[in-house]
């Protein structure tokens, strides 16, 4: 199976690594990046030895998948915000930029920000819902 290329920020520094789709974050940190400070004590989320903070949330790295989808990607799938999918990568990048700039956009702000991305399949309804839902999700997770 093809390995995935992940780009992220670790301890404030840009980092990138290859991992398998079902590899845990714990394994990717230790084996992919050589960051062995994160320890494996049980691999079932019970001992806390592998704790890390992901997007402001405290999580056990042994229970988190390394290539976990950005919340936007997951929300696009849940909302069926794509049909043929060819415009989707562009929308996700544009929406990610929106949420960085405006964590709490209104529907109208979202529509105007995304007016530079054409979609011919969806009529934009489910795309907008996915983006607004992602914004809400990110706000709730940060609490």
């Amino acid at each position: 199976m093809a390995r995935l290329h992940i780009e992220t920020t670790i301890n404030g520094e840009p980092a990138e690594f290859l991992c398998d789709p079902h590899e845990t974050l714990l394994s990717a940190l230790r084996n992919g990046l050589g960051l062995t400070g994160t320890k494996e004590g049980c691999s079932t989320g019970d001992c806390g030895a592998c704790s890390v903070i992901v997007d402001g949330r405290l999580v056990p790295a042994c229970l988190v998948l390394a290539p976990e989808a950005h919340p936007l990607q997951q929300k696009f799938l849940e909302h069926a915000a794509l049909q043929c999918g060819v415009c989707t990568p562009g929308f996700i990048v544009a929406a990610a930029a929106l949420l960085d700039a405006k964590p709490n956009p209104t529907e109208e702000e979202t529509r105007f920000w995304l007016a530079g991305n054409l979609c011919r399949c969806t009529g934009y309804d489910k795309i907008i819902r996915a983006v607004l839902d992602t914004a809400a999700h990110i706000r709730e997770s940060a609490v």
Binding site: A69, L72, Q73, F76, L77, E78, H79, A80, L82, Q83, C84, G85, V86, C87, T88, P89, I92, E107, E108, T110, R111, F112, L114, A115, G116, N117, L118, C119, R120, C121, T122, G123, Y124, D125, K126, I127, I128, R129
Partner: protein, 753 residues
């Protein structure tokens, strides 16, 4: 079809199996592949809309370093083959000539030569060096000019098919169709109210975001492999083989993921060119269209001129209808005007009518199918007229339609009686919906319209293969445009009672899947779905037979319930077995289990849609915005509700664009002036509200969903515009300059009490 009444998987909303690839950009569309040793192809296109080709000299191109092959029309054999696409017999000679010119160029952008070189830039520059001598002719780019007695003639040998006896002489009218019932003059004599108008719509494009793209490899032995974005890999195979002169048994087509089609990727534009270039160069050739080429040289849909005369009695009953439809076919015959004629009054019980339909060639690209081809324009005309009748009679527009709505057993305008149809429940639901009575703001208007379209059946094949771990793979030959793979997985999950995540749906190539007709015509979930279900049933029958072997009982004594094979009562040491348990022992009970099915399905029942549109018009700029939209449709059982909603919302968006802004703008030389997304203005996210979809209906069995949603919006928007401005627009699109000019020159219309 033995779909159980209580569904466990069908009707749920699982994440599509190809979803992660699509949201990460990993999925491979037509232009995303590269083959070793690949060359790049470029096309030289005509600068004239209508001209004779006097000579072509390719020598300068051939001498250019890096160029490996040059082809012109003379590299393609004459073919009189017709390809029964099932939906419509397509004359391959027309397709071949439209793809690359022979003695005449018939539209601006018509290909005259193609070049394959080591880089795209070399190919493009070399193509520009090809010397073509043209004898320009007067172009014809509108219907009125094309049917005038002194019109320039595109095809000297064209005769009007279906013309009344005695019609001869050079013509641009390729065919005439007539539908008739009763006595239309007597009908109008009976009418208390008559509305008569002439409507016009412009040529528009399907607007798929992914341009056409392919890679072809053809050896000296005449065996070819083609990778391409298409709605129909078998069409690409058979059409390319016939156009190039190959044996289709030696052509394999691998469909990529497809970035939109809507009917525009059912025909071939690049693949035969790439095959012949590859055969000459003895290397694979990749060809990708630019957006400019997509507009100029693929298959938009017809512009139209439609005259409608409708008569009604004071009690609201429609008594007579007369319609004349002229549709642009583009450079070669074959517009969907016949379908337009069949759909125009399909919703209404009208005892007297006369409909005539004309297919007109003009110097524009040859039209291709676009979502319910022919129906949206006809609905624009008729539904606008019905709206005017409602205003004259001062009755509610939905009530007027209810009074005249066709039902099961009524005769369709094209002849046969309707089976179960959902028009009346649709109208009732719309009338009860809060949108219909919600208050409107200043400068806002509300429009209502219905639409009608068929749902195709035709050829489909499917295989369902079991794995030893109890998972299953389902393979069909239908490219997935809108979520059909996950719908197929849901059907297999339902039939075999295994989780939908354990079903892997995929699209095979033309060697690996049984013959299947195109993805289009709203047919995949219905017809291919039927094949999938039958293939799963076949697998299930084999599972039962294997269980019988394991229990040492007769196969017909085994029953199936809740996803398990059940042994006959009293069988010793026999517990019910799941799919996984039986599959684990496949090797020992007879070998692999492969379920298969293939069928030719008749058309599913036709379907209606009903839409309510609220439009806000800025009286100072003529700009308008859809502020609220609700779509109703009888779709039958929704296998995956999210994708059914998506089809409806997407069709609405295209219809709104067609109504408000989209059009091919031609200059007097027959050149399209707005061949890019900046000036060919499709709706963006800020143009539309959330599009509410209501599926209230009794499921009238299984029928398609994809095409109907584009039919009502043209009239729904136009009727909303009438409501908002007091002006009846009979020409689309309702672009701001047109709206502003009409508002400013219209006399004020008293507001209806």
């Amino acid at each position: 079809m033995s779909i159980p009444r209580e569904f466990k998987y069908v009707g749920t909303r699982p994440i599509r199996h190809d979803g992660v690839d699509k949201v990460t950009g990993r999925a491979s569309y037509g232009a995303d592949a590269a083959w070793p040793g690949m060359l790049h192809g470029a096309v030289l296109r005509s600068p004239h809309a209508h001209a004779r080709i006097v000579s072509i000299d390719t020598s300068a191109a051939e001498r250019t370093p890096g160029v490996r092959a040059v082809v012109t029309g003379s590299d393609f054999p004459e073919t009189t083959a017709a390809l029964a696409l099932g939906e419509a017999a397509i004359d391959l000679r027309d397709i071949s000539e439209s793809m690359i010119a022979r003695t005449k160029v018939l539209y601006h952008g018509h290909a005259v030569a193609a070049v394959a070189a080591t880089t795209f830039d070399i190919a493009k520059e070399a193509a520009e060096k090809i010397k073509v001598v043209y004898e320009p002719l007067e172009p014809v780019t509108d219907i009125d000019r094309a049917i005038a007695p002194d019109a320039p003639i595109l095809h000297p040998t064209l005769k009007t098919k279906g013309a009344p006896e005695g019609a001869t002489g050079p013509t641009n009218v390729a065919s005439r169709l007539e539908l008739k019932r009763g006595d239309v003059d007597a009908g109008f004599a009976e009418a208390d109210v008559i509305v008569e108008r002439e409507f016009r719509t412009a040529m528009v494009h399907q607007g798929y975001i992914e341009p056409h793209a392919c890679i072809a490899r053809c050896g000296e032995d005449g065996r070819a492999v083609v990778w391409c974005t298409t709605q129909g890999p078998f069409v690409v195979r058979d059409a390319s083989a016939a156009i190039v002169g190959l044996d289709p048994a030696h052509v394999k087509v691998i469909p990529s993921e497809i970035g939109g089609g809507f009917g525009g990727k059912i025909v071939v534009y690049l693949e035969p060119l790439a095959i012949v270039l590859s055969r000459k160069a003895q290397r694979p050739v990749k060809m990708v269209m630019s957006r400019d080429e997509v507009f100029r040289a693929t298959g938009p849909t017809s512009g139209s001129k439609i005259r409608v005369k409708l008569g009604a009695r004071r009690d609201g009953r429609l008594v007579a209808a007369r319609a004349s439809l002229w549709y642009e076919a583009g450079a070669y015959r074959g517009s969907p005007v016949g379908a337009g004629a069949m759909c125009a009054i399909a919703a209404y019980k009208i005892p007297n009518f006369f409909i005539e339909a004309y297919d007109v060639v003009v110097n524009k690209p040859k039209v291709a199918a676009y979502r319910a081809p022919g129906s949206p324009m006809a609905a624009f005309a008729v539904e606008s007229a019905v709206d005017d009748i409602a205003r004259e009679l001062k009755v509610d527009p939905i009530d007027l339609r209810l009074k005249n709505a066709n039902r099961e057993g009524d005769q369709a305008p094209y002849g046969p009686k309707y089976g179960p149809i959902g028009l009346e429940p649709l109208l009732e639901t719309a009338r009860r919906h809060p949108h219909w009575t919600a208050p409107l703001g200043p400068n806002q208007g509300r429009g209502f319209a219905v639409g009608f379209w068929f749902n195709a059946g035709m050829n489909s094949s499917a295989t369902v293969t079991l794995n030893a771990d109890g998972s299953a793979a389902v393979v069909t030959g239908n490219p997935d445009i809108g979520g059909t793979r996950v719908a197929q997985a849901l059907m297999v999950a339902e039939e075999l009672a295994i989780p939908v995540e354990r079903v892997r749906p995929s699209v095979g190539d033309t060697d690996g899947s049984g013959f299947t007709d195109v993805t289009g015509g709203s047919r995949v979930c219905y017809a291919t779905g039927m094949a999938v279900i039958r293939a799963a049933e076949d697998a299930r029958d084999q599972l039962k037979a294997r269980a019988a072997k394991m229990w040492n009982v007769a196969p017909d004594a085994v029953t199936w319930q809740d996803g398990r094979a059940i042994p006959p009562p009293g069988t010793e040491k026999a517990e019910p077995l799941t799919v996984a348990e039986i599959a684990a022992k496949m090797t020992h009970t007879g070998g692999p289990i492969v379920g298969r099915a293939s069928l030719y399905a008749p058309m599913a029942g036709p379907a209606f849609g009903a839409h309510i549109c609220d439009l806000e018009v800025d009286p100072e700029t003529g700009q308008s915005r859809v502020v609220r939209y609700t779509a109703f449709q009888d779709v039958g059982k929704a296998v995956h509700p999210s994708f059914v909603e998506g089809q409806m919302q997407g069709g609405v968006a295209q219809g709104v664009g067609w109504a408000l802004n989209e059009e091919y703008i031609y200059n007097s030389d027959g050149v399209m002036e707005n061949a890019g997304f900046l000036d060919y203005r499709m709706p963006v996210a800020s143009d539309l509200p959330m599009i509410e979809v209501a599926n209230p209906l009794h499921p009238y069995g299984v029928r398609g969903v994809g095409e109907v949603p584009i039919v009502p919006p043209l009239a729904a928007v136009a009727n909303a515009m009438r409501d908002a401005t007091g002006v009846r627009f009979t020409e689309l699109p309702l672009s701001p300059p047109r709206v502003l000019a009409a508002i400013e020159s219209a006399a004020p219309v008293p507001v209806d009490a």
